[in-house]
């Protein structure tokens, strides 16, 4: 630090030194040798130390602020640009609501997300929750079937060779193509939507679990063989923990797809749900509500994904 800046900083440092620190400074001085020079030297030293500490703290604060800005700034700019373009695009008419209009509608909407006026007019909270419930049920059944199936396919190559072509054939089919089959079998719209979720969730789960089982390191299996572990112990102590990260990837992909598909499925089946709500608001020509729904769907999807990534991190073991 230059001499100039020390001089400049001095008055404020003196002003801000807490009383306790000042007292300590003076009690330190020898009571008999009360020369001014002595006192002056001590005070100078204490001041310089205080200034240095303050400078270091300020430097650290500045560095942290810079790091934060570096992380937060690009996404903020991105959102600002998006909203700006959106605003400009909706200025010239076309009936599309602008950001401000949407925001106002959202404030009204989220003031009471859980109202209920009959089956076809419910708050957005109920709609999101019932969509999530459908996803949870469909996905739950898919996990119940898909994960054991994946274990079987991964462990027995004959089964894998038998079922793999079938999976390859059915996997690329849009889940919505299965909706009529669901309607036919279950006779009602709600289980048909759940069925669609089941179908789209099951493929990633089977495939990832099977791949995980196939990729269990040979070393671990050799340990199992040398210890002559029972098949039950092999599954619970070796296969399951080794496959868990793959399984969680499958679950993440499944939930992602399920959340994509539920909107479309509910548009077709009606009832309660975010997809149905979007379609309903389109019929009511409340376009700003559709835009809000788009954001809500995005945010819920993002939260689901982040939660599962967190879960996956917890159960991933370093293979060293």
């Amino acid at each position: 630090m230059t001499a100039l800046s020390i001089v400049a900083a001095k008055p404020s440092a003196v002003a801000e030194t807490p009383p306790a620190a000042c007292a300590e400074m003076y009690t330190d001085a020898h009571p008999d040798a009360h020369t001014d020079a002595h006192k002056e030297i001590q005070r100078e030293a204490a001041l310089e130390a205080a200034i240095a500490a303050r400078a270091a703290a300020a430097g650290e604060r500045r560095a942290r602020l810079r790091a934060f800005l570096k992380r937060a700034l690009p996404p903020l700019i991105g959102f600002a640009l998006f909203i700006g373009i959106w605003h400009l695009a909706t200025l010239s008419a076309s009936g599309l609501p602008g950001p401000l209009q949407t925001w106002k509608a959202a404030v009204v909407l989220f003031a009471d997300p859980f109202y209920q006026n009959g089956p076809n007019d419910q708050g957005i909270g109920w709609n999101v929750l019932s969509s999530l419930q459908r996803v949870a049920i469909g996905f739950g059944f898919a996990a119940l079937v898909g994960i054991p199936a994946g274990f079987v396919l991964g462990r027995f190559s004959f089964m894998n060779a038998m079922v793999n072509p079938l999976i390859s054939l059915l996997r690329p089919v849009s889940p919505l193509a299965w909706l009529p089959i669901g309607l036919l079998v279950f006779k009602r719209a709600d289980p048909a939507a759940t069925w669609t979720i089941f179908i789209c969730s099951i493929w990633p789960m089977i495939i990832n679990t099977a791949v995980g089982v196939q990729r269990v390191p040979q070393d671990y299996l050799n340990v199992a063989r040398v210890l002559a572990l029972s098949e039950w112990k092999v599954v619970t102590r070796i296969l399951f923990p080794a496959v868990l990260p793959y399984m969680l990837t499958g679950i993440r992909l499944s939930i992602g797809t399920a959340w994509l598909v539920i909107v479309a499925a509910e548009m077709l089946t009606g009832g309660v749900g975010i997809g149905f709500w979007v379609w309903d608001e389109w019929n009511n020509l409340k376009v700003e509500h559709i835009i809000i729904a788009i954001f809500v769907i995005g945010i819920v999807g993002l939260l689901l994904e982040q939660f599962l990534i967190m879960l996956a991190k917890r159960f991933t073991y370093e293979n060293t």
Partner: protein, 265 residues
């Protein structure tokens, strides 16, 4: 000599894309109870293949292997293996890794408290009691290998098989573990077969050194008896003429009689 482990005219052939690959041929070897045998040779000479055969992890394509008078039909806890890369299960603590083995071998006959005692005793033997609740990725490479040894010893195996157990460790850690292993083998009187490519390690630890010729179609070239008294001390041995002779004999075999494995391969 009493045969405890016996390998009789064993050969091992693998089917590869380029046809049959003969890894081992005409292996005859007898190991006495309590003996420490080192298998040494250049890489690719099939010493690990031979160890896997004794472990029962692979079946020979010719010949027969016996352990304690019975044919080796598959792997089992009476022939414990210490793997080259420790092979601890990363989702189990050190304690649980050892306990898994103890429970398998003694769980049918003994109570929980006794199993716990055995597990802790095995960890204490390798000096890892303080780390029992740590996970493998929280401890050093040398410590992991020690847990691997504890896991193998905890099963009270008839034969301890070690596949280059100290190969991935630094020289100082390796020396310390070798000293520990000598003490453990002296205390437990374990019959041990160790694969190594370290001449000093072989001479220091082994009663006999089995030297293998270069692959393919590798077989036993020479067997050297190391009749140095035990307990052995690496510092004293450094000036011991018999130690130096043994070392020279192995080096001569590896670098004169079986030189240039890469050119042959």
């Amino acid at each position: 000599m009493e045969k405890f482990v016996s390998v009789e005219s064993v050969g091992q052939t693998f089917d590869t894309k380029n046809g049959k690959f003969v890894a081992l041929r005409d292996i005859d070897l007898s190991i006495a109870q309590g003996e420490f045998v080192a298998l040494i040779g250049h890489s690719g000479c099939g010493k690990s293949t031979l160890l896997n055969l004794i472990a029962g992890l692979t079946a020979p394509t010719a010949g027969v292997l016996l352990c304690d008078g019975r044919e080796i039909g598959g792997p089992g806890p009476e022939r414990a293996v210490v793997f080259q890369n420790h092979s601890l299960l990363p989702w189990l603590t050190c304690y649980d890794n050892v306990y898994l083995a103890v429970e398998r071998v003694f769980g049918g006959r003994e109570g929980k408290a006794r199993l716990r005692e055995r597990t802790l005793a095995a960890l204490e033997l390798v000096g890892l009691l303080p780390a029992e609740q740590k996970y493998p990725n929280e401890i050093s490479g040398g410590m992991k290998q020690r847990v691997g040894i504890a896991r193998a010893l905890s099963m009270q195996p008839k034969v301890l098989l070690m596949d280059e157990p100290f190969g991935a460790l630094d020289a100082l850690t390796r020396a310390r573990l070798q000293d520990e292993l000598m003490k453990i083998c002296a205390a437990t009187q374990a019959t041990t077969v160790m694969v190594t490519h370290d001449v000093d390690e072989a001479v220091l630890l082994a009663d006999r050194i089995v030297m293998m010729t270069n692959g393919p179609a590798a077989t036993i070239g020479e067997i050297l008896s190391v009749d140095l008294p035990r307990p052995r001390n690496r510092l004293e041995l450094a000036h011991e003429p018999r130690y130096i002779d043994c070392r020279a004999a192995v080096l001569e075999f590896l670098y004169e009689k079986q030189a240039h494995p890469r050119l042959a391969a």
